[in-house]
Symmetry: C3
Subunit: 472 residues, 3 copies
Amino acid sequence: MPKLTLDPDRYFDPDPTQRPMARELYETVADLPLVCPHGHVDPRLFVDETATFGTPADLFIIPDHYVFRVLYSQGIPVEAMGVPRLDGGLVEEDHRKIWQIFADNFYLFRGTPSGAWLTQELSEVFGVDEKLNGETAPAIYDHIVAKLASPEFRPRALYEKFNIEVLCTTDEAVDPLKSHQAIRDSGWPGNIRPTFRPDAVVNLLTPGWRKNIDALSNASGITVNSYAAFVRALENRREYFKSMGATATDHAAISAYTAELSPSEAEAIFERALRGEVTRDDAHRFTGHMIMENARMALEDGLVMQFHVGAVRNHNRVIFNRFGPDKGGDIPEHSEFTHNLRPLLNKYGNNPSLTFIVFTLDETTYARELAPLAGHYPAMRLGPPWWFYDSVSGMSRYFDQVMETAGLYNTVGFNDDTRAFASIPARHDVWRRASANWIAGLVVRGLIDMEDAREMVVDAAYRLAKRAYKLE
Amino acid sequence: MPKLTLDPDRYFDPDPTQRPMARELYETVADLPLVCPHGHVDPRLFVDETATFGTPADLFIIPDHYVFRVLYSQGIPVEAMGVPRLDGGLVEEDHRKIWQIFADNFYLFRGTPSGAWLTQELSEVFGVDEKLNGETAPAIYDHIVAKLASPEFRPRALYEKFNIEVLCTTDEAVDPLKSHQAIRDSGWPGNIRPTFRPDAVVNLLTPGWRKNIDALSNASGITVNSYAAFVRALENRREYFKSMGATATDHAAISAYTAELSPSEAEAIFERALRGEVTRDDAHRFTGHMIMENARMALEDGLVMQFHVGAVRNHNRVIFNRFGPDKGGDIPEHSEFTHNLRPLLNKYGNNPSLTFIVFTLDETTYARELAPLAGHYPAMRLGPPWWFYDSVSGMSRYFDQVMETAGLYNTVGFNDDTRAFASIPARHDVWRRASANWIAGLVVRGLIDMEDAREMVVDAAYRLAKRAYKLE
Amino acid sequence: MPKLTLDPDRYFDPDPTQRPMARELYETVADLPLVCPHGHVDPRLFVDETATFGTPADLFIIPDHYVFRVLYSQGIPVEAMGVPRLDGGLVEEDHRKIWQIFADNFYLFRGTPSGAWLTQELSEVFGVDEKLNGETAPAIYDHIVAKLASPEFRPRALYEKFNIEVLCTTDEAVDPLKSHQAIRDSGWPGNIRPTFRPDAVVNLLTPGWRKNIDALSNASGITVNSYAAFVRALENRREYFKSMGATATDHAAISAYTAELSPSEAEAIFERALRGEVTRDDAHRFTGHMIMENARMALEDGLVMQFHVGAVRNHNRVIFNRFGPDKGGDIPEHSEFTHNLRPLLNKYGNNPSLTFIVFTLDETTYARELAPLAGHYPAMRLGPPWWFYDSVSGMSRYFDQVMETAGLYNTVGFNDDTRAFASIPARHDVWRRASANWIAGLVVRGLIDMEDAREMVVDAAYRLAKRAYKLE
């Protein structure tokens, strides 16, 4: 059987001068605690000390669209991977069979970031020492099942083993944060914090928006029957999230469009929405306005503001209708920031008290728009490579295209941005190795000296994220 | 005289660890047969055993706009390179003089892919051992003339020497495929296959479209006097091409726009076109519709579908009016796939029986749109770097920006896409070396092991193209 | 104290094969004279032999928006850097304090091109041997003050020490070029030439446009009361600039739009502008027309034409209103050349007597549009990496994305494009090292041989700029 081994110098440039320097820099940050300021881990995992991860298929395949989209792209039905159908139709229920299909096709992950994370998880977290393939699948399945049954592999235990310093979840504006409250009440010292994400009440075209507004009324105790009440309800919820430990909000939109509406326009659109008469243009303008409005709130309550731009959600309606959102069918589109962010940055961007972190799925904006903007406006910072670009080559392009113009100190370190809890150490490890390698590349090219390099590698791995997200 | 030598390690990274690994991987594929699923070689070359290539200028310069555009860009008239004028005006007829100008200016090709191919052709195919320049031009001309006069340098002989396993040509929908029939009748075992390219009848703005429709009626035996008849005629011709060995169709458009028209809209537009009253918008919508319609046909008859997007043809009207199309004056424009392909992919993209291969001239779509689409939809595959990007650096950007997200197995290996038959081995050699180097780079960075690498290099060089184009 | 040392192999790839070859090539060009065909140095520096640079803050910080934008982006007020306010409001006047802030925050420049230039200036021009930081700031300030007081550090002396062969300034169309005349009259042999930049009279939306037209009347002696007179006045000023040594003109626009107006349309728009009734669309169309018209003039008078596209000027209105233009608040936007340049290139681009040099801030156009255009049209050349991309990584992307398709000989070497005179040698040094490294990379990858490399490195460092700008 081919052995599964992790290269101790993985992701480093092979150059005989650069590699040892990258390794030396990496070793100074490899064991630093993990700061996880943005992600999608379910907080329920940490409520109960005895919670478990289920089967290997539950852990690695069924909930992770990064993984099953790769198999789907080669013609393997989503049902065969055990992903539940909205209509309750039959899907594979035998998790050993799901695992076997995954293993038979594991070669599809060659050279992909999911392949790298999965390999590291199998090896480092679960101690698997054979390569996963059709033959080794059953034994590895049994091996992981045995591990998952032990107390050391429960979520809280892994949180501690992973040396996580803080883990921020992403939560709807109307979420009562009961899991977060329960974690606090439990006395467990893990640092799990919510993040305020109001998209489902801000985006007027969200399916079920009217129900979401009712939920917002309930959650805030403010009857949301007008735009003014809507704003007060949001302010109320932001305050609640803050009281529960949140330091940040998160906002997503297809376009980076920002522009302030007059109060009467905002009110008129909101009332049309309440009447169910909103247009696509209304929704677009309202979102652009609410981004501005949340920046104003952020200046007032001090929450850090994240803005994720460019995903065309549910591109594949067949998959969406059958399985729902977040099933691998989101596709980026081209983005524009120079003109779209101009209203927001002109109004709030000169204020260093605001922290406005922008994420893109359009790498062409790195050097052309985002680095020049982040390299000028005091409020603006650039988020790490997002989603498809959270990878060795994606990071390399980011360092190459962003850093000369923005400077390292207008970026915010790393976000793992994952719902796959067990992949968190592997994801941070890729970033820490890739950034150590980038910094070593600057040293061997005479652009910086080792004194600077030693500071930068800690900034990239740990300090920048903590500072930007006010987690200090 | 400076000697002409080919570096046996050319195109490999110089790194002392990566280079020997790249060489080791390359050597496993260097001698595999060449699979050429898409190109523009004239099938007449293979009809007659005694066909020849003409003079060195006929072979290397006059028909190859990749070559003469470089000289034209520096002010050398197209006429001086012997390219015939549409008006029959005087052009250089002394092929020795053309060769001399080419050689005098051969330094312009330094660092270009054409320079690399030409150098390899001169050295490996023709055994030239001096660098081409003004001084060596006459002797090298004589040397090549002598070679071309020998039976070993006839097209069929070179086809065999080049170890070509299959060569697909590109042919108009109305083409009777007489050359292909003649090759079959000749008993020669070369595997030359046609490809169905209906652009000239599908694009309603094609100069001479009405005549092309008449030709389609003749070729299909179906009187194309309605949209319904048009579709039947296309189906008929696809069937004929298939009977003549075709496994694929090819479609080109400026935009990737796809959207289905209602039958009555399609009929109305087609009838306007028959009456010569078609508008630009009609043509745009009809092309977008016919891409959908050809996908439907592909699902029925099993032909693989290629889609080439983004070339603004005949940008330079002066050159077009004087010399016609394909004279180096085609320029790419920006492309959009996420929204444009959504109708087609939603209707047909979930069906793994369809193979829909997309080519782009806009590299910004690699990581942002094409890799995520190919990495999700079962029907979609991504074609290799096309035209200007069929080069060492172009391939490097493709591997870098495509592979992490799409995965190697949603790509289709290499297309040489050339009308310059003698350059085919050089072009495949660049790809095989560049892909071996990329794969070696993954190994030395610990992303894959050598077991995976050995499979991937054969997939990239040979198996993926064969499988995707159903040439197995 | 940490020592400040320059790596003699800086910016070269660390590879043990490539690096010595890059060094060998670089050494052949390191001491060639500097050709500076485009920049923004103030010619007044050279009028008077006794002119000086002021304090270290005057030299390095206050006039250089590349530098102070980086500090501003981290929340340091522009006032604290001594940049004068338009309203005469208080700004820091103690240049030692400004220097101290700069030094305290010098770590922000880690890995940036400004950091590299500043380090080289401190080390090579001023002989500073300690790293700049908060502690070393006062002593380094004193050290530079002492240097600047000596005759060897006056502008003319540095011009000679820097081995500048020719330095072209950028001058308004209405500029009487008195400094240039005074330099000529002084008998000093320095080669300082003006460049004709008519944007402030061509762009009808320029603040103060009407006054500029009056100034144009005065300067040309032609009463500019009609479009026809406007054209004659421009021709007159071009002739004057030419008589004063100019070899080139420069034109900037947000968009690359070119399209000819009919004489009556041009006249009508110009008259609306004279009446103060111009619209945004008028201005856009007039600029596109005047680019065409200047190309016509260039063919007549032989001046080389530069076109800088894509900067959204004064994006940050707060900074613009307080401090004026050129304060770090210019941000690029996406650009389009294929369609926009088509009218100009179709009319004038086939004429090799025209030299039309295009600069972009949108790197996505390098491989997709600009390299194919420059690689076809005889008149078109591609300018070097501009502004944010005048950096080690920016150059690497330029070589990677431009050269295979355009070929080196359709590019024009290097422009330092700076107002920071003392940074000129450092900027050329980055280019010479980066291009030597790129060329060495071609050699070690077997794409060219050393004979070609030795020619190319001199072309890139010296000959191409001289030839393209007719400075031979």
